[in-house]
């Protein structure tokens, strides 16, 4: 029998905090990339703006509407990638997907993801993995052009 406490792994304190107090939410006036990611089956949205200068993500904004998982994941993503090079952001993106697929990741990769690893608890709730990846898919959309 599932207990409410089983959900604590998915809804970590950090997650709830990011959901209630999203970081880097303010729209940018100065940005080079912008994309909207959207889950057609549930309606959740993530709008991602990046300012990319000399191959570095020098500013980021994540805004959206949706569940605690998709929105906190977006907020966490913004902290993870801010200041990173394109290449490192690509590595983070792959790491994130590996993490949620339960593949092995070494410390270097985990460290680089920083607090974004806290979303890992959704693995027990596979249907919510899509929520966790919504913002990362937005990032892929942009990085695929680099």
């Amino acid at each position: 029998m599932r207990e409410l406490s089983d959900f604590d792994e998915m809804y970590q304190e950090v997650i709830i905090d990011h959901y209630k107090n999203p970081r880097n939410k303010a729209k940018l006036t100065n940005f080079t990339e912008e994309t909207l990611s959207h889950n057609p089956f549930c309606g959740d949205e993530i709008e991602l703006q990046l300012l990319i200068e000399d191959g570095v993500i020098s500013n980021v904004s994540v805004d959206g509407r949706g569940c605690a998982i998709s929105q906190s994941s977006g907020s966490l993503l913004s902290e993870t990638i801010l200041g990173k090079t394109i290449d490192q952001a690509k590595i983070d993106n792959n790491s994130m997907r590996s993490l949620l697929k339960d593949e092995d990741l070494d410390d270097k990769h985990l460290d680089s993801l920083a607090d974004s690893t806290m979303i890992e608890g959704v693995k027990k709730f596979p249907v919510r993995i899509k929520c966790a990846l919504l913002s990362w898919s937005a990032l892929s959309d942009i990085l695929n052009n680099y």
Binding site: C42, D44, C67, C131
Partner: protein, 407 residues
């Protein structure tokens, strides 16, 4: 009144455990469960007389054809259609609506014509008309809404005109549970000779529906929402209108003769049923109609109105939850959508699932309507003949725990 406990025994799935809890299934507007009779009718078909229909002289084919056509008559009787050849089997209501748009719409909707739909529609009763209007340069218009968020029929009566060629309306909203005043709307439409379509996905399964009384030109519904199998839907159309329509899909069974150069169409209903039909599931749907008739559609509707009203009352007591749509009793069936001040429906849905309670969360394929309430998603509980009040109590208990959890 109906005997819920007795009915529940007919539905094998209701004995299932979910996450260690008894299943509380409140997602009936998405799809209903199936009684043993319906499941058995599929098994019997496949184990005893599986065969292709209509063209066989051998025993299995004869029996399969008989049972297939009997199922059509069961459906005919269930909605009191005039003739069984007015019952076209499709895959689902979405296909039925597309059939109308492709076959009736493309030929009859002209430049500048208007089609009216309501803001309450499911995507399946929006997008086919958007596309038809784009292709034929017609205008898609929405019914006006009054201050309560209900259809404003008076205002509509001033907006409808001779330019209005079609009016397509849901009989009951799959989000709000509101029953629409289709009688008045159809009466108005007739004055202007507009063809009427009723999306009966949420009405035919839940209340007595008589197509001759409603006097709709077309009426569509899905088997899987009314105890029937997945993969079978119905288009009802008036015989003379169907007869004047071109076919939609081409192939086996729907033709009367084919030469290398040309083809002639078969009679109704076959003209609209190309290829090998979904024989087993048609038979399953026939069985479902008979099951529902046995219980009594009047009884079912009363039961669900009661559950709907009870759910509205109980959820309204929760401070931070808000019910979408009109709360009045007469206009509402067993569908209740609600939102929370700050907790997102998916999070509510995930936690409730932990307690074994199945509700639907999201846009319910009615994005424009849900968005009109300022949200992208809502939670929805929807009931059927086998649901009982204590399941609503469990839902409300669950919602309280969810709120506690996210405090």
């Amino acid at each position: 009144m109906i005997n819920t406990e007795k009915i529940r025994k007919d539905f094998p799935i209701l004995g299932e455990k979910v996450n260690g809890n008894d299943l509380v299934y409140l997602d009936n507007a998405a799809t209903s469960h199936k009684p043993k009779e319906v499941i058995n009718s599929l098994v019997e078909y496949y184990e005893k007389y599986n065969s292709n229909v209509h063209r066989g002289v051998h025993a299995l084919s004869i029996k399969a054809t008989d049972e297939f056509e009997k199922a059509r008559i069961s459906v005919q009787k269930f909605i009191n259609a005039k003739n069984s050849n007015e019952i076209i089997f499709t895959r689902n209501a979405s296909e039925s609506l597309n059939l109308i748009a492709y076959s009736w719409g493309k030929e009859n909707i002209k430049l500048g014509d208007e089609i009216f739909i309501t803001p309450f529609e499911h995507h399946s009763n929006i997008v086919p008309w958007q596309m038809l209007c784009k292709e034929n340069e017609a205008i898609l218009r929405y019914f006006p809404i009054d201050n309560n968020g209900d259809i404003d029929v008076d205002k509509f009566s001033k907006e409808i005109s001779n330019k209005t060629k079609m009016v397509s309306i849901t009989h009951m909203s799959n989000v709000l549970g509101t029953v629409l005043p289709i009688d008045k709307i159809i009466e108005l439409a007739k004055k202007y000779n507009a063809v009427t379509v009723v999306d009966a996905c949420q009405s035919v399964p839940h209340m007595p529906v008589d197509v001759q009384k409603i006097d709709s030109d077309f009426l569509c519904f899905s088997g899987h929402k009314m105890l029937g199998p997945t993969g079978i839907g119905v288009l009802h159309g008036k015989e003379d209108i169907l007869n004047n329509m071109s076919p939609f899909l081409y192939g086996g069974d729907m033709i009367s003769s084919v030469t290398y150069e040309d083809s002639k169409w078969n009679d109704l209903p076959y003209k609209f049923e190309a290829g090998t039909p979904n024989i087993a599931d048609s038979i399953g749907l026939g069985t479902a109609c008979e099951y529902l008739t046995k219980v009594g559609m009047d009884n079912i509707w009363k039961h669900e109105m009661e559950l709907g009203q009870y759910a509205v009352e109980e959820i309204s007591k929760l401070e931070n939850f808000k019910i979408l749509g009109n709360k009045s009793k007469e206009l509402r069936g067993g569908v209740v959508s609600f939102i929370h001040d700050s907790i997102h429906p998916h999070d509510i849905g995930s936690l409730l699932d932990g307690f074994g309670i199945a509700i639907r969360t999201g846009h319910h394929c009615a994005m424009p309507l849900v968005r009109s309430y300022g949200v992208v998603a809502a939670s929805r509980a929807s009931f059927y003949l086998y649901n009982k009040k204590d399941e609503i109590d469990k839902l409300v208990e669950g919602l309280k725990k969810v709120e506690e959890y996210f405090k």
